[in-house]
């Protein structure tokens, strides 16, 4: 029998015993779709409470889902699920996410997911050549950076191979370590888990196919329909400058294309142009992201844009900055958004945040962090360092010898040379400085005795217990952003709300479209002019979260989807929230409506919740887990909640927000724990049974 979408097989590897076997995807995991869904299920079934991230019993699950490799637009991302090393004090469930071409290649090799357990006796790498899977000796690769490891593995497997590898940071069990693929795609936080298993890399080469159930013509029509509704990165549907075709514009839009804006270092230079949304052959020019991330100065250094498999929105910039070579790194650099975090190690550059030195800093930072494989906790590592330095804490916690060995003069001068020193110390756990900062924010804050001011607005910490920062929180939707930020065990990697909030359309249109999806325009407020909580915001928050899990599991990029909006005036700027269900049904042949697929996603989201409850050993999520930082209520000092100009929330109103949100989710309002009935309704009766035995049901 043909399987559509999925390949039908999951690869299992026990590195302790060297055993390699397969599982049937659909028999065991169909109700969990793929990626995070499969990941959570494996973690629930196989990793008991008490196991730590770096224990051999921990699992690390790599995968896409039924849509990866299928050609579904923006369907190239991979989630890597495991116990998350930076979570504190218990290492709870979490995922890192990466794009590129690795996940599609895995599907072409015939695998929906790879599940690794155990620990190899010596460093190894995993070679997946279609159905030929081998555990290979990696002793000659151990100690080398990600670039070299990738090149060596491709030299063996063929240049077409895609490699996901860790650098020295992951090898050295730095908690702040990532997995990298394709030069610019990184999955944060889980590099150390691979390192703990002595697993340097997974190389994949696939010559197979993904079968599409829908008729060719139907599929083409659907794909073209989906493409017709795409905006730019984060579903910005208006351009950043007035364009003749555009009714609206917004200067902070990621749709930066315009006449006179180029990929300046292309040969010959390529003009991005006006990019009329009806022109399907210019979608890839809409997001000239280099000028957005790095400033107008970056235009002349932009070779081109790039991104993930099958995605027409190219959000990864490829730049060539010759003067960066004076710091001993290649001029060629690629990344996007927070991937350029190495630049932010330095707070002040001599010629400003968007000047030439900062641009060189971005290139230096990219090479250091992406070759050593160091993660940033959404930029928090820089704030941790800067806090400890500025408050004089480093002087106290480091020996005089170590303190003097750190070139703070370069930091003060704003020299990119400092970034090289900084990242190396972290990757190799050098001294107290490298060790502590590499442990993650919660641990370094405790170890170095960070004071109350560290938890203020300026340093971004959202959940002080777990040590993760805000990520599209109150600044993107008030209570909605706050609820979303309270749900994970790392920074919330949720963009469902942002892709609607920050689309660039006038508020009136957004409210009209919000009413279509949530029942009332009150689900959304004007930026920086928030209103008190209402039930539509609770619906918006829940919907955003379950769609995030849906997107991670299908996968579709949650940095693009879901699409409440589109750039098309003739549609009243309406997007289509059924695209996920349409693509899933067409590819797999398993016809599901929007509501049916949302239910699957809700199952996955609730399984994540259950894993957190079981891991923490408490059902009182409301008090113990779902935190909102004080600064969300206290900053700015003199502002009154629900007046214009700021994002300040109100304590009492936020409690009401949690009440409403829990109710929407079918969770117990007192504890925020899913009820037995909710688990059962979602097909998670076995979860309810186990939690019941542990006394963790409300």
């Amino acid at each position: 029998m043909s399987v559509y979408g999925w390949s039908g097989k999951i690869l299992r590897v026990d590195l302790s015993t060297g055993r390699i076997w397969t599982e049937n995807t659909l028999e065991k995991y169909k109700d969990y779709l793929g990626a995070t869904g499969i990941g959570y299920k494996v973690m629930w079934d196989e990793v008991p409470v008490g196991v730590k991230a770096f224990d051999p019993e921990n699992r690390i699950i790599f995968g896409g889902g039924p849509l990866i490799g299928s050609g579904s637009p923006c369907g190239g991302r991979v989630a890597i699920t495991s116990l998350f090393p930076t979570s504190y004090p218990v290492e709870l469930i979490g995922s890192g996410h990466m794009g590129g071409h690795w996940g599609a290649e895995l599907k072409f090799a015939g695998w929906d997911a790879v599940i690794i357990q155990g620990k190899a006796a010596n460093p190894v790498w995993l070679s997946i050549m279609d159905d030929k899977v081998e555990i290979r000796d990696a002793r000659q690769l151990w100690g080398s950076g990600i670039y070299r490891a990738t090149a060596e593995i491709c030299a063996e497997m063929g240049a077409e191979a895609q490699v996901a590898a860790i650098g020295q940071a992951g090898e050295n069990l730095v908690r702040m370590a990532c997995v990298m693929t394709g030069n610019s795609h990184s999955a944060g936080g889980i590099g150390g888990v691979m390192g703990s298993k002595n697993l340097k890399a997974i190389g994949v080469r696939g010559t197979g196919s993904v079968k599409i159930k829908a008729d060719k013509k139907e599929w083409k029509e659907l794909v073209n329909y989906v493409l017709s509704l795409a905006g730019s990165n984060n579903q910005w549907v208006v351009p950043s400058t007035p364009q003749p075709w555009a009714e609206f514009h917004a200067s902070n839009s990621r749709w930066t294309a315009r006449k006179g804006l180029f990929w300046g270092a292309a040969n010959p230079p390529v003009e991005t142009g006006t990019c009329d949304p009806r022109d399907m052959n210019s979608i890839g020019y809409r997001c000239q992201k280099a000028v957005f991330d790095l400033g107008p100065i970056a235009e002349q250094f932009t070779v081109r844009m790039d991104g993930c498999h099958s995605c027409p929105i190219r959000c990864h910039m490829q730049i060539s900055v010759p003067t960066a070579e004076k710091y001993g790194v290649s001029r060629y650099a690629a990344n996007t958004c927070i991937g350029w975090w190495g630049r932010g190690v330095i707070k002040t550059y001599p010629d400003g945040a968007r000047g030439m030195t900062a641009l060189e800093g971005a290139v230096v930072g990219k090479h250091m962090t992406d070759d050593y494989g160091v993660w940033c906790n959404y930029g928090q590592i820089n704030r941790d360092f800067q806090y400890a330095y500025e408050k004089g804490i480093l002087k106290k916690v480091l020996s005089e010898k170590e303190y003097k060995s750190i070139p703070f003069d370069l930091y003060e001068k704003g020299s990119p040379e400092f970034i090289k020193d900084f990242v190396r110390r972290i990757a190799f756990r050098e001294g107290e400085f490298g060790y502590a900062l590499g442990e993650g924010s919660a641990r370094v804050a405790e170890r170095w005795g960070f004071e109350e001011d560290y938890y203020g607005y300026s340093y971004n910490i959202w959940n002080r217990k777990l040590g993760y920062p805000k990520h599209h929180s109150t600044e993107n939707g008030g209570q909605v952003g706050a609820l979303i930020n309270s749900q994970y065990n790392r920074d919330a990697q949720c963009h469902s709300h942002v892709n609607f909030y920050a689309c660039g359309l006038p508020l009136e249109i957004q409210k009209r479209l919000a009413a279509d999806v949530f029942g009332s325009g009150d689900a959304i407020d004007a930026y920086r002019n928030y209103t008190p909580m209402n039930v539509y915001k609770a619906k918006f928050a829940k919907w955003s979260l379950i769609r995030k899990e849906l997107h991670d599991s299908l996968p579709l990029c949650n940095w693009m989807f879901p699409w409440i909006v589109s750039p098309l005036k003739e549609r009243g700027y309406k997007g289509d929230t059924t695209i996920e269900a349409k693509l899933y049904s067409a590819v797999t042949g398993d016809k599901k409506s929007e509501a049916e697929l949302d239910l699957v996603a809700e199952r996955i989201f609730n399984l994540h919740r259950a894993l957190t409850i079981r891991g923490m050993g408490t059902k009182d999520m409301r008090k113990e887990h779902d935190l909102v930082p004080d600064w969300a209520y206290d900053y700015p000092k003199d502002a009154k909640p629900f007046t214009a100009g700021h994002d300040k929330m109100d304590r009492e109103d936020m409690q009401k927000a949690f009440d409403m949100f829990y109710k929407e989710c079918g969770w117990d309002v007192a504890t925020g724990a899913p009820t037995k009935e909710t688990y059962q309704k979602l097909g998670l009766g076995f979860v309810a049974d186990e939690l019941g035995k542990l006394g963790l049901l409300p």
Binding site: P244, N252, L507, E508, A526, Y527
Partner: protein, 190 residues
């Protein structure tokens, strides 16, 4: 271009006009003035204007051609959808009128009301506005004096960039908060 006759009848002249308008809209993003068509090679005669325009308006194949009248100045312009949309065309017309005060005030009011957001002064150097930002202090001085523009206010963000807003539609606090988001904080919240 020589003085050759490019159209033998009114219908084909209307087609030629439509083609020119489409080309201008697509390539330049600018309005096409009616005056162009009184010149060669179109050589439209004043007495033919009504008939040709009627053909242009009524023809199904030219329904993408839009006509914009500036009644004050007594001028007529054309543009083609979807290359140019109505909102942009209106701003082009405002810019054509060469009245920067009205252009600025109308734009600021519209943005404050609609999005809502304060308007970055840098916007006005871009098409369709294309004002010289060096002249901005003079424009602001004039706006400050004009009674019908008393709602237009401005301030500088922490980056020293000037923003304008209409207090008819938004408060200074809101405008400042949003300007700070766009100028600084959005980059810290990618």
């Amino acid at each position: 271009m020589s003085g050759e006759v490019i159209a033998v009848d009114h219908k084909s002249l209307a087609t030629k006009i439509a083609e020119r308008v489409r080309e201008d809209s697509r390539l330049t993003g600018k309005l096409t003035s009616m005056e162009v068509f009184y010149e060669r090679p179109y050589s439209l005669k004043p007495e033919e204007t009504e008939d040709v325009l009627r053909l242009l308006i009524e023809a199904e194949e030219h329904k993408d051609i839009n006509i914009l009248r500036d009644t004050d100045a007594g001028k007529v312009y054309f543009y083609a959808s979807p290359y140019i949309c109505e909102a942009y065309a209106k701003n082009l017309l405002l810019a054509e009128r060469n009245n920067p005060y009205v252009l600025i005030a109308e734009t600021v009011r519209e943005e404050s009301r609609m999005y809502p957001r304060p308007t970055c002064s840098m916007l006005f150097q871009l098409p369709p506005y294309e004002l010289n930002l060096d002249d901005l202090p003079f424009f602001l001085e004039e706006i400050r004096k004009r009674e019908d523009m008393q709602d237009i206010k401005w301030f500088k963000a922490s980056t020293d960039v000037l923003y304008l807003y209409s207090e008819r539609y938004m408060s200074l606090e809101h405008a400042k908060g949003l300007a700070e988001w766009v100028e600084v904080e959005q980059f810290e919240n990618q």
